[in-house]
Structure formats: C-alpha cells, structure tokens
Symmetry: C2
Subunit: 114 residues, 2 copies
C-alpha cells in the first residue's frame, strides 16, 4: 500500500501546505480537535524510529518549533506517537504541532477501540 | 527561584533516576497518570525553545526513543509542552516519555484551571 504522506509529498494526494523547503513539509491535519493541528514531516520516507535517532530530527524539530511559536503565542505541544498504545496511524515519520487553545492534559487513559 | 530540575541534576533534590550519562538525565515523573512517565532532560540548563532549535535535541531524542522502546513495547508518546496552553510547568527543557498502557488521544480540550 502506498504511503499516505509520500503521496502528498509527491503531489498525488491533496493537502493544505503550511510550509515547505527542500527537506521538510508541513501540512494541516484533517483532524480538527484543536484550532491548530499541523504535521511536520521529512520529505524522505523514514519511520518514526529512524527520524528520532537521526540528525533529521534537528531540522524537523526546528521547523516544528517555528510553527508553534508563530501560530500559537499562548503555547503549544510538539509530539510523536509510536505504535498502537499511542495511536500512531501513519508509518511515515512526523511531529504533531498542537495549539490555539488550552490543550489540557497530554495523556488520557481510555479503553482501546474495538 | 532555583530551577527544580537543576536541583535534581546537582543532587540537591531527590528523584528516581532511570538513566544518565555526561549530558542527559532521565528521571521518573512524580505524576502517575500512566504506568510509565519519564522526563528526559539535558544536564545543562536551557529552555524548551533552546533545546528544540539546538543540536542538543538529537541526543535527547535518541535517549527518549531508547527509553520508550525499552519500557513500552506496545507503544509510547514523546512530547514537549510549551507555555500556558500546553501546561508547561518547568522552564528547564525536557521531553516526556509516556506509555505502558493505551494512551488515548494526545490532546483534550478542557477549560483552564482557576
């Protein structure tokens, strides 16, 4: 199955772009749980684990910080989810930028779906 | 006012240490919202913003990933909070490692306290 994010990066699937350069793409999440939900990703396909143990994280982190500081003067959250317990839904590495309102706690215990 | 994390790093305040090397300290959070709550921090005092735009993030990210992968085979979440809207309570840079159970959504809208 094709990678959803690689399809967006290759311009074969639609997304609203917030920022891009040679290495990084930032898109608006289709989810609207809070006013600002951005996804910051390397254009090169890699796993979450690869990104977080590679120098790639330096550039991704810097762009994510700029996005949060620019769009969310009241504060923001940067995060990555790994695996089932954390609701990871895309294999392609990415950081979430979340903000635009009071975000509440950063983890909530809940029973798994299904 | 003294920095709480610098006090721990200087061994003037107690904490349960999960890992440390020359540059990084990992402690167990006193909060117990989920089974695993670790705080990964640079030993040198810096702000969240400094850590996220500096090469320091590379080492912090790698250690945080190792902690999550080791302690949470079912998945885990890595995050930093910035400012009021995200519940940041410590000025000293740190990453949260969260796991050990199904974590649910990574943001919940709620009214601010007080």
């Amino acid at each position: 199955m094709a990678c959803d994010f690689c399809e967006i990066i290759a311009d074969r699937a639609p997304a609203r772009v917030a920022y891009q350069d040679d290495d990084v793409l930032v898109i608006y999440n289709r989810l609207r749980w809070v006013p600002l939900m951005l996804l910051v990703m390397p254009k090169r396909h890699m796993s979450q684990e690869e990104m977080w143990q590679d120098a790639t994280i330096t550039k991704i982190a810097r762009v994510a910080l700029q996005m949060g500081a620019t769009h969310c003067p009241g504060g923001f959250r940067l995060l990555s989810n790994f695996g089932h317990d954390a609701l990871q839904s895309q294999g392609h590495a990415h950081l979430h930028v979340l903000g635009g309102t009071y975000l509440g706690h950063y983890v909530v215990r809940a029973p798994p779906p299904g």
